[in-house]
Symmetry: C2
Subunit: 200 residues, 2 copies
């Protein structure tokens, strides 16, 4: 028998293993057997910590939600102007996708989209929250005159989240052949320059 660990540590190991394998094998194809082998325990051990696979996925959702929320908080806390905060929010999101490359695949997984309503609601909430942060800072940018008031902040926020998602998809479909964060920030600047046209 291998080294025993406190339940909380082992649970964290299992969630990490799932995130790694979701990237390699795909979220809908990874099995409890794969996870157990990756962690280094037997399959039965997985079910000691998570009664069902669905609850394991919910735990994964919680971990991701917590990490994203913290990244956003840091981005907001470290900057003062709306423009800097917006850039930091986008940068944080790109960095999180690099850190959890399975994220886009999980967004399209059947586990999330079909089987696990709990998980789906969680992610929907996460995306709405992010959108709200973007809108708030875009409103700030309109107020301080750094972008045009001709574009509604809600629409601008959709364009920006789409940008992040689109780049992330290109990144993973293209075998991650470019650096996500620099490329994303470059295109963000292109879009921000467009938003600013009223001020030129």
């Amino acid at each position: 028998m291998l080294q025993r660990k406190p339940a909380e540590d082992r649970k964290a190991d299992i969630v990490e293993a799932l995130l790694r394998l979701a990237d390699q094998i795909g979220p809908d194809r990874l099995t409890t057997n794969d996870i157990a082998r990756e962690v280094g325990v037997t399959q039965a051990a997985i079910f000691r910590h998570f009664p069902t696979k669905a609850e394991l996925w919910s735990a994964v959702g919680e971990v991701i939600a917590a990490r994203l929320a913290e990244a956003w908080q840091q981005a907001l806390a470290a900057n003062t102007t709306p423009k800097d905060r917006l850039r930091a929010l986008i940068a944080a999101q790109l960095r999180q996708i690099e850190a959890i490359p399975a994220l886009p695949a999980i967004l399209h997984s059947r586990e999330l989209n079909v089987d696990n309503a709990n998980l789906r609601q969680r992610f929907r909430g996460i995306l709405l929250q992010y959108q709200a942060h973007l809108v708030a800072n875009l409103e700030g940018m309109i107020a301080d005159g750094s972008i045009t008031p001709d574009v509604r902040p809600q629409d601008a926020a959709i364009l920006l989240t789409s940008l992040v998602q689109g780049i992330a998809i290109r990144w993973s479909l293209g075998s991650r052949g470019f650096a996500l964060q620099p490329e994303g920030l470059r295109l963000l600047d292109v879009q921000l320059a467009l938003f600013a046209y009223g001020e030129r």
Copy 2:
């Protein structure tokens, strides 16, 4: 025994059933049994028409590729100005996603991304072709002065494909609670107005 059909008709039925189920059940988890039940034949009948599941997926890839290519051709043929053609290309893509709602999921399925290199190559080519169409018409718009030359057409094309993908994700995560095409075209107009700022 139910009604017999010529092989070509039955193959088409099977592909249609797969597309319907890929949306409901998810591309990576739908089984030959599910497909057989949906078509109304036994599981063995599926394997009479397609020797393996992978070859069935390849047939699906061909069907999708043909439909997309035709939609683009019609979009290009029915319009003359670069701006109209660009709008028609985006509209066609949104319409295809509505008609084949499994499309985004298939694009990110493991069947395509990991298991089936044949299918993957087919889709990669299709997407590159779409991007090329967008770039060509964006260049046309720069040439005829309907958008600013400050944005590189390649970057603008990425922003537009990201827009389509981002909206499609919002659409499916939000249980398709809004009409995809109108919302997409509305945001396209917002983006196009930004691209045009140099001309105001």
